[in-house]
């Protein structure tokens, strides 16, 4: 559904250069530090900025050539951009109806707002962060969008609200096949529970693209002392970083090391650990 080929954009402080594809019925998580390029990628997909070179195709067409009908199939949330907060939900509903006409499902939307205790006649600026996040998501899901782009939809929220929001999203995906989502977040546990694929990005380049399943179940971090290190089989080591205790090694074949080095300390793969290792994060 989404195809990004050799997307390049140069800024004074960093350079973006990446390619990836997202198929229908896939949920992809984009992880990376602030300034690693996530927002730039998102804005390129949404035609909010023109890349220096490369192609982005959504629904089979270059994003700059999507018709209005095709753009109705896109649902977006940003953490810091929305309708003016002077509007109430009732007013936003009017705008949505006029923008999406029959595709905007008013009854479902009303019911959702009711279930989530979102007051329909108060200005959005009076909502808590959690309520605003819920509103943004519910709105993105209110017009039969097939492609969802969610930029930090759960940032700043406590764990209960995050679960709620992810639940809403999962229910939406359950309703119809062939929808797809790209979601960025700093909260790796959210992505590990939700996403089918994880893309790690650092300094404008993609450093890992992997099934979440593989990441959690086959990747491992070997904690190797300086003495053990020389005798360690290097064939399956993807990356190594120095640590206080010796070395941390990333492998995609956790079971190999579990079987052959039973005394070795091995951690399950997780987004945070893998990201830290691959970006040569400093030992705390």
């Amino acid at each position: 559904m989404l195809e990004i080929k050799n997307l390049k954009k140069t800024y004074p402080h960093f350079q973006l250069d990446c390619s990836f594809t997202i198929g229908a019925d896939q949920v992809v998580g984009l992880v990376g530090r602030n300034g690693s390029g996530k927002t730039t990628i998102f804005r390129s997909i949404l035609d909010l900025l023109r890349p220096d070179s490369g192609e982005i195709h959504l629904f089979g067409k270059p994003v700059s050539q999507l018709s209005e009908a095709e753009r109705e199939r896109i649902g977006v949330t940003f953490p810091n951009s929305f309708f003016s907060e002077q509007f109430t939900i009732n007013e936003i509903k009017q705008i949505m109806t006029a923008t999406y006409s029959t595709k905007f499902h008013m009854a479902d939307f009303d019911q959702r707002c009711y279930q989530l205790n979102l007051p329909v006649d108060q200005k959005v600026k009076n909502f808590s962060t959690g309520m605003q996040a819920k509103l943004k998501l519910v709105l993105a899901l209110s017009h039969e969008a097939d492609f969802l782009l969610l930029d930090e939809p759960t940032s700043g929220l406590d764990v209960i609200v995050r679960k709620e929001i992810l639940g809403i999203l999962q229910d939406y995906l359950d309703q119809k096949k062939d929808r797809c989502v790209i979601i960025s977040s700093h909260i790796s546990s959210d992505l590990e529970q939700l996403c089918d694929f994880i893309i790690l990005i650092d300094d404008g380049k993609i450093i890992l693209q992997e099934e979440t399943d593989n990441l959690l179940n086959h990747y491992g971090i070997l904690k190797v002392s300086a003495e053990e290190y020389p005798s360690l089989e290097q064939a399956f080591i993807l990356a190594t970083a120095k640590r206080k205790y010796g070395y941390a090694c990333l492998t995609k074949e956790r079971t190999y090391y579990q079987d052959n080095y039973p005394q070795l300390a091995i951690e399950k793969g997780s987004i945070d650990e893998v990201l830290q290792l691959l970006t040569k994060g400093e030992e705390q």
Binding site: D25, L166, D174, D196, E211, D213
Partner: protein
Amino acid sequence: MEEVDTLNIIIQHSSMVPIYEQIIDQFRGQIIQKKLKANDPLPSVRSLAKELSVSALTVKKAYDALEQSGFIVTVHGKGSFVAMINAEIEKEHHQKEIQIELETLIKKAKHYGISNSDLLELVHLLLEG
């Protein structure tokens, strides 16, 4: 069509065992023990994924594997259902269980230094008795 509300699929995120394997084992166990009967509907991939807090792809892999080994059938557009489990598959599963326990036993015997012939003699004795 009712969902199986009392589905007791429990997985451990912290375990070293891959999650989709855990899911497969849990379903197989429930089906063998007749807790899930033939034609019972399985939860949709996404709803189970939500419940277990894992990605849909993981659940899909498990369902695919279960279908491969004949435990479930997937009807396009309707979902997945428990298949008719014939005696063959049950027997296979039971045999696998025994095999695993035997493997553990054999390892233990080796560890204590008991020879293969001594072990076989012990087994014959017990089988006759």
